[in-house]
Amino acid sequence: MADAEAENELITTADGIPLKQALKKALWQRKKTALLLVSPLFLFVMITFLIPIFDMLIRSVDNSIAGEQFPSVVVEIQRWDLDSTEIPDEATFQALFKDFKVGAEQKTISRLGRRLNYEMSGMSGLFRKTARKVKKLEAPESATEAMIAIDKDWGDIETWQLVRRESGKYTNSYYLAAVDAEKLSDGSIAMKAEERQVYVNLFWRTLRLSFTITALTILLGYPIAYLLATLKTKISNMLIILVLLPFWTSLLVRTSSWIALLQKEGVINDILVGIGVIGDDGRLAMIHNETGTIVAMTHILLPFMILPLFSVMKTIPPSWVRAARSMGATPFTAFRRIYLPNTIAGIGAGGILVFILAIGYYITPALVGGTKGTLISNFIAYHVSTSLNWGLAAALGTILLLLVLALYILYDKVVGISNMKLG
């Protein structure tokens, strides 16, 4: 009896371990197994994906090239004041000569010239010319005279202000460039000259076009989703193939078919001329401009709107609308007040998904957008592979990433990441 009372206060398992402890251990064991199962993928994604993204973030502020190519100058220039009205002293110029001598020999100094050229044009030429001439010179007595004799820009305060500003390990110049701003010689920040402003415009265009495309997909996708959700399952299963086939078709295939359709000598223009709507010389220019991008991307992203909408609409019992009708509502009122509000979640889910996809698109605008229909991703690609301004590419990419992350958080609030289904 006494035993039972004592045991009532502390419940144990068969092996005498307190129940609470055993339960905790079992739960922990389960969590451990679960974590163990997930960890291989987690590590994999970490290494192959997340770290590269992080690397890109670092590149957007990385300015270690200054320290690498100008080791002596970077040290000496710290003593020079940005507000100074005189050029740096002889010691700095000696350092300049030394660094150029080394850099010209190794043929690496011109990279710094290219980097500085992003801030001030002419630097690239200055560095290359200086490197060529310094190669032939021996250590001069007056480095100041020698360098300025090579090129008078070395006697220019602005040149040295630039070197001073960009002498640190990190820089914010790429982010400034990404929003069309620049640092002036007095250290203040101003917007770039009108003809050099391009990125703000581009971001704006990307958002605007993506918004248009999202709106179009909602407009076109809603009727289809409604039809599929309310038809008999057998018929809707067959019709849904018409949605899934484009979904599963390669992106390039769909884009090339739009090129064939939208060209001046393409199928649509031929049909319009054939039935007499337009004359042969009045063919519509539907490609290599914004129209091409909008039409092609709407077509490609439409299934991404239809499928989530469809799965939401399928959960709305048809009896609700019938009940509303039976209480005297007109079809339109029943739709507006009963059906539509219940589909908002689907519109939200599909809309955000389409929007996120649209702002990151690269292939389709590259092929059908011409120059007016290109989006921000095309410029990121341009800077990575052609202009090789990797800092700027990284800065633009980071801004785009933050935009998408904000939208993703919104999506999570509306739908919930764990609830994502793919039809």
Binding site: Q106, K107, T108, S110, R111, R114, N117, S121, G122, S124, G125, R128, K129, A131, R132, E195, R196, Q197, V198, N201, L202, Q263, K264, E265, H288, G370, T371, T374, F379, Y382, S385, T386, S387, L388
Partner: protein, 363 residues
């Protein structure tokens, strides 16, 4: 199931090993594609492969992104290209940045048949220590012959939308469009680079281009303007003279070309630093840039060989049998009104102007 899986795995691994074990040398040569690569294939690659059976030459058509891709490869320490076909300004920049090998011209390249050293034979076209000259080509204008009653006669006509309406196609880069804009605006060809060296000069060039901007479709690859002209999508536009030759003489398309305003370019080879098959590439270069080879490529495409000794050997087109001498950009009758590039100036300024150009395009 287990046994089958094991066998398949073994077979796959074995196949992989065998594939890599075959000791043939493959050289990757990067060029511009289309008719140009075809001419190199017929004049250089194929004869070399015939004479050296263990060698395979693979063509990669990414020369238009060549400079940037090469920079990326060298920076990564993983160079997969053996030889790159590059234009003069790019070659200068790549050389200055140490991304391509320096060449000892008299040692590495063959002398002319009469004994003249390579340095003398190539003469002024040796614009850099790393650049091995091949051919002179030009970017020039072509137009549909069946559209205009009065045909255009000079380069400035491409800016005249009233007399010569219709869409234009221009190369999606600042040169030679900026030079053309200034000359059409009245600048003397001799002073073009002096004017371009100033901010007002650049603004003036872009302002002139603005007058036709809406009507322009921009091309990046050599075959694009030919497609646009053939389809009738554009009426008037710039293209490489060799591609125009192919369209007019070989494909017999209703296109004509202008020599006035032709912008002469030098095109040649550069050897990437760290090329996988450097020794073989140097052997290949000795063969592919000798007097006979450079004269041979003129049999397939209308580009002028840069060796003085090759010029008199330029004969007839291999398939068509027409005399090629008059189709060379460097032929005296075609040189009136030609524009000579200032390669050093472009090497210094192309990054700047390329960015300005991209911004201008995106507006």
């Amino acid at each position: 199931m287990n046994k089958l899986f094991k066998q398949t795995l073994l077979a796959t691994v074995a196949a992989g090993v065998v594939a890599t074990a075959q000791a043939e040398t493959t050289m990757v040569i990067v060029s511009w594609g289309g008719a140009y690569t075809k001419s190199q294939q017929r004049a250089y690659h194929q004869p070399y492969m015939d004479a050296n059976p263990g060698i395979t030459i693979v063509n990669d058509d990414s020369a238009s992104e060549g400079a940037s891709k090469l920079r990326a490869q060298v920076e990564a320490g993983n160079v997969t290209w053996d030889l790159l076909d590059a234009e003069a300004p790019n070659a200068i920049t790549l050389c200055d940045e140490g991304l391509v090998e320096e060449i000892n011209f008299d040692k590495d390249l063959a002398p002319a048949p009469d004994g003249t050293s390579a340095t003398e034979d190539f003469g002024k076209s040796l614009i850099s220590d790393c650049f091995i000259p091949q051919i002179a080509y030009s970017t020039t204008l072509g137009y549909r012959s069946d559209i205009y009653d009065v045909a255009p006669t000079k380069m400035a006509d491409v800016f005249d939308l009233k007399k010569f309406p219709g869409k234009r196609s221009l190369e999606k880069r600042p040169d030679p469009n900026l030079e053309w804009a200034l000359i059409a605006d009245g600048v003397d060809p001799k002073d073009v680079y002096k004017v371009l060296d100033t901010k007002e000069g650049v603004d003036r060039a872009f302002a002139k281009l603005d007058t036709i901007k809406d009507q322009v479709i921009w091309w990046t690859k050599g075959s694009q303007p030919m497609q646009l002209l053939a389809d009738g999508e554009v009426a008037f536009g710039s293209a490489y003279n060799g591609r125009l030759f192919e369209a007019i003489e070989v494909n017999k398309q209703p296109i004509k070309m202008l020599w006035d305003g032709q912008a002469l370019q030098l095109d040649g080879w550069v050897v990437p630093k760290g090329a996988p098959n450097k020794a073989e590439v140097m052997k290949y270069l000795r063969f592919a840039t000798d007097t006979q080879r450079l004269a041979d490529q003129a049999k397939y495409i209308s580009y002028g060989p840069l060796r003085a000794s090759s010029a008199p050997m330029v004969g007839k087109h291999a398939d068509l049998g027409i005399e090629m001498a008059s189709h060379m950009p460097t032929a005296p009758e075609n040189m009136k009104g030609a524009i000579f590039y200032d390669f050093e100036w472009w090497a210094d300024n192309k990054d700047d102007l390329a960015e300005r150009f991209e911004s201008w395009l995106a507006k």
